[in-house]
Symmetry: C2
Subunit: 219 residues, 2 copies
């Protein structure tokens, strides 16, 4: 038995980050899905990695797909929430820059590079419908903000979303991601739309992003 500060003594030393069994399961699954592959990982393997019985895992998630659904939704929902809190009175360029900045930081923040699982064939099935709808909602949001800058029918409006998600391939290729990556991709998102005076836009966007507790260094 170990004591982790105040409160109830734990029956075992936790093996994984996460305050709850659910969080530990999610972390173990994220590691196995991204390093071993989704199809090659069983719920048994996940339970073993957490140090619980398979039956206990089923108290939290009915299927392996349910675990992946939870993990993928976690990669988009904080950004959707951040976007919903953005004041519409800011110019489109400022909002777009802040969104790209926050979203890239978000994609780089987790211990595991879950975006690498977006293109799995399994994710095209019905069970992932809500995740796909949420990611599409984000893509549309980027596109709408960009269209306010370049006009409705300019195909460049699709580029900022793609630049932000390139953080996934960058993480996959480079073990260590540059701390400046969110700022760089946010700036590039303005550059591809031909925004001038990006320094002023970035100053305002940075203030919006820094105000968000989730992006504090302690995270």
């Amino acid at each position: 038995m170990t004591h982790a500060g105040p409160g109830r003594p734990r029956l075992r030393e936790p093996r994984r980050p996460g305050a709850t069994a659910r969080a530990e399961i999610l972390d173990a699954a994220a590691e196995l899905f991204t390093t071993r592959g989704f199809a090659s990982t069983s719920t048994r393997l996940i339970a073993d990695a957490v140090g619980i019985r398979q039956a206990s895992l089923y108290n939290h998630f009915a299927t392996k797909n349910d675990i992946l659904v939870a993990l993928l939704e976690d990669t988009v929902e904080p950004t959707i929430e951040f976007d919903a809190g953005l004041d519409d009175n800011h110019p489109a360029a400022v909002r777009l820059c802040a969104l790209a900045w926050f979203d890239t930081a978000q994609l780089c923040a987790g211990r595991w590079n879950l975006g690498a699982l977006y293109l799995l064939p399994e994710v095209r099935t019905e069970q992932f419908g809500r995740f796909r709808a949420e990611r599409e909602q984000l893509a549309v949001r980027y596109r709408d903000l960009a269209a306010e800058i370049v006009g409705e029918n300019d195909p460049r409006a699709g580029l900022p979303f793609r630049l932000v998600e390139s953080a996934i391939a960058i993480r996959a290729d480079d073990e260590r991601v540059d701390a400046k990556l969110p700022e760089m991709l946010a700036t590039a998102s303005l550059d591809v739309l031909g925004v001038s005076e990006t320094a002023a836009v970035k100053r305002r966007a940075r203030a919006l992003v820094i105000g968000v507790p989730d992006l504090s260094p302690g995270r």
Copy 2:
């Protein structure tokens, strides 16, 4: 027995694009890997999809991994060859633009979106070493050309390669890819580096790309 023009009569109607059994195997495997998943596809399934026996498949490829190696190398080698043929006397911006244009067209050209398999955990194993080295060689080439424009230590030098590979996610999300995508991503690759006078650069790059038979409409 069917006759496909002059030459020897074929024993059966070919089910797949490809002049040879090897090409038919590659096409079937590419379809299964991208729609069903690599781990969930067996060589038996591939042989069934081609309409040959598993033993015949093994005459061409010893393992399922060997098939994926061949498919992935095919996604980078034409671009490496195109790059090797580019005249060093062109300015860096022209070569970078032509490279991005050709490479995007190349990533969009195949029947199956094979780039979606780049992030598979299996691709990190030794057997894929040559593919990884070739893709890295391309990434370095983009970076070097970009560094001639923005300077050696500017992190933006990594962006053109990422923009080009975003064609993979665009294909995965949109069934139908805009025919202008190669030009758009080539232009964006210049925009993120702050290149001015992109119209003149694009004119020269287009001439280099159009001179390449592989990109003719008949492909």
